[in-house]
């Protein structure tokens, strides 16, 4: 089992708020458009984003992600940190690129294959 605390350590994340260090991380999602995150992220995901306005905290709470990682050197403002504390959202940042963070998270989770790529391949060849 991978926890928020293990991700923090393995990825060398900068900690801003850690409300639940034993929270299990079961997957990941990368994205900045909040409705996409709400439609596609799943409970327990590590959410990697460069979006850092206050609404990120509500979205994190409602989608029930395990932690938020602000990537690419994005730094949270005071308001965001305060909201994360109040709402119980684990909040971290990293100077690493989104691509690299996601690659590392995927590997740490055992490189799960949800079959989506094979499915897409089938769908495209069927359409040809």
């Amino acid at each position: 089992m991978i926890t928020a605390q293990m991700l923090e350590k393995e990825l060398g994340l900068k900690r801003f708020v850690m409300c639940d260090d034993s929270r299990e991380v079961t997957g990941g999602y990368a994205g900045d458009l909040l409705s996409w995150v709400m439609g596609r992220a799943t409970s327990g995901d590590a959410w990697v984003t460069i979006m850092s306005n206050i609404n990120v905290i509500a979205v994190a709470q409602l989608t029930d992600v395990a932690l938020v990682i602000l990537a690419e050197g994005v730094v949270p403002g005071e308001e965001l940190i305060a909201a994360a504390k109040m709402r119980g959202v684990n909040l971290f940042s990293s100077t690493a690129p989104t691509f690299e963070l996601c690659g590392r998270i995927h590997r740490l989770l055992g490189a799960p294959d949800c079959g989506a790529i094979a499915e897409a391949d089938d769908a495209y060849s069927a359409a040809d």
Binding site: D32, L33, L34, S35, W36, M38, G39, S43, M51, N53, I54, N55, V56, A58, V59, Q61, L62, T63, D64, E79, R87
Partner: protein
């Protein structure tokens, strides 16, 4: 928030305060957990309601949200007196949005709000009159 005897909850959604948008949905999430609803249903209801709340703030200068808890069904009604939606079928399409640039810069305006509301609810009904407002009813089956 007021609770009436038939177990319903009423919220005012402030059209001027973008940063506090979502307060009603977060409260509903807490209430549902307290009432013993499953995390899965709670998540669907609160996300769909949040999208509705955000839409009323962005597109309609605020409105009201009511949640009705019945034995086998949970209903969320979002009502505003904004500009209304002229072409509901187009508005329902993934990616369609009239949100201005300053809203897009905040990560909203992807045109996925109404589709998310439809996907996460079991039934969705939109009533809208241009120049008068919009009412959206979301129904969620309880097992």
């Amino acid at each position: 928030m007021e609770q009436n005897e038939k177990l319903s909850f009423h919220f005012d959604v402030d059209g001027n305060d973008f940063t506090s948008a979502g307060e009603a949905s977060v409260k509903v999430k807490k209430l549902m957990r307290q009432l013993g609803f499953s995390p899965e249903l709670t998540r669907r209801v609160s996300i769909a309601m949040y999208e509705g709340e955000i839409n009323m703030v962005i597109h309609a200068n605020g409105g009201v949200a009511d949640v009705y808890v019945d034995e086998d069904c949970l209903r969320v009604v979002l009502a505003d007196e904004g500009p209304g939606i002229a072409d509901i079928e187009t508005a329902m399409q993934e990616g369609f949005s009239t949100a201005p640039d300053n809203i897009r810069a905040l990560g909203f305006g992807a045109g996925m709000g109404l589709p998310n509301m439809k996907n996460y609810s079991d039934e969705m009904k939109i009533d809208s009159i241009v120049g008068q407002g919009t009412t959206i009813e979301l129904k969620f089956k309880v097992n």
